[in-house]
Point group: C2
Chain length 227, copies 2
DNA sequence: CGCCCCCTTGAGCCGTGTCAACTAATGTGG
DNA sequence: CCACATTAGTTGACACGGCTCAAGGGGGCG
């Protein structure tokens, strides 16, 4: 089952100003959201699933005490809104990190249901993996693993595997990886100092994929970055 | 939708020695498994979902490097085998921690499917919560949270809320909570020293539910156990 | 141009993992 | 049923990774 998604495009900025229930615009049947706009609010009843067509979203869960955690980033091809399989009640915010568009999946046919189940299963797998990473692997390993994942995802969507923009801020990324922002920053600096990456705020270039992979996989070996 | 499950019973020890594909016995249409017997092996193709009728199971995922993590404990009423919703391929072991029985759910009717989706969703929620707990809360808080959960689960099934047997060993529990066995042991000792628990290997008694709840929820408050 | 926020870097502390020794429990074979 | 062997749990000492607090750049947006 393949799904067509447009490549990332900055030309979607202007859209009709038809307001749906959300603060969103439409174009070519897709919902357009700008940076920081919510696709879903925690507590919302999800009315239908969405297919991410372009851009990036993050989903977060918020706790009473004020702290929130980043559960995932969603890129074109991802399906959102599996809450509809059960009570349709979303416990999380889904926010655009940049100008992004989604396609509403109106008909909850069996293919769509299957996609939703699959996406839920993937999320479960991701959480399991994340738990494992956070329990057993260092900051650098987790960071490297994330960069490799993201790199792969870029490649799969037809972009450069070794040079790309990180669409999320440090705070979001550190939250996703289960780190303090300072720790993430230090990790990036370490990888930079070892000539594995070039990094400036958003722009990222992988200089030494080989060693990056080593860092991601090994905890006890020489792969650990001394200092 | 309610499902009838028998209370935990030690009278199921002897069963017919009819061997199914697994090393298991049958009684009254239920599969009986003894301590350490696998209901599902990692890599197995799950043939049908199971409803836990009595006893306890743990499910674990195993990694190449030899380390494994405990993903969950399953008590009567829980449904296993949601893998069947997708590729039916299990990535985990499901093992009986004690003499236990399950009912095979042959007909994958819509009710069963719904149960499976629900169970998957619950697992996802649990993982999210666990991630949050491990990121933000101390050993004692996590341990207290677990004990409260387990206590509630006991109460829901008609047993004492304040005195029960922990069916899993320290190693399994520490794995589940994301702790080293030694750290778990220290946590238990601390709760014991503060007269919140009585604990001897398996047997556990909650002496001060009030303070236990405090420990579970607060990190920065006086609830933290000094020493 | 200047404010603000994000990111980076430094210093110090604390919790938890690790290693090691000891004790308690469990199981096994005679 | 006992003696022994093996595993599980507890406790202590110690090291170190990552969080916190604090201060110093840098870039974007009004």
């Amino acid at each position: 089952m393949t799904i067509h998604t447009e490549p990332y495009s900055k030309t979607l900025k202007q859209g009709y100003s038809i307001r749906t229930g959300l603060a969103a615009r439409m174009r070519a049947g897709n919902l357009i959201l700008r940076r920081h706009e919510h696709l879903i609010h925690a507590g919302d009843t999800v009315r239908s699933p969405y297919l991410v067509v372009s851009g990036v979203f993050k989903s977060t869960i918020n706790y009473e005490n004020g702290d929130s955690q980043v559960l995932g980033f969603h890129v074109p091809g991802d399906v959102l809104g599996h809450e509809i399989l059960l009570d349709a009640l979303s416990g999380r915010d889904v926010v655009a990190l940049d100008t992004s568009s989604v396609r509403r999946l109106d008909h909850l046919d069996s293919d769509t249901r299957c996609l939703l189940i699959e996406s839920m299963c993937n999320e479960s797998r991701r959480l399991t993996r994340q738990l494992h990473l956070e329990r057993k692997y260092s900051t650098d390993a987790r960071l490297a693993a994330f960069l490799i994942d993201y790199s792969d995802s870029q490649a799969r969507r037809g972009y450069s595997r070794y040079e790309f923009i990180l669409p999320m801020g440090r705070r979001d990324l550190s939250g996703y990886l289960g780190l303090a922002p300072e720790t993430l920053s230090r990790g990036l600096s370490r990888l930079r100092d070892h000539d594995i990456l070039m990094v400036s705020t958003n722009h990222l270039k992988i200089l030494d994929p080989e060693r990056l992979r080593n860092v991601s996989g090994m905890v006890t070996d020489e792969a650990r970055l001394t200092c």
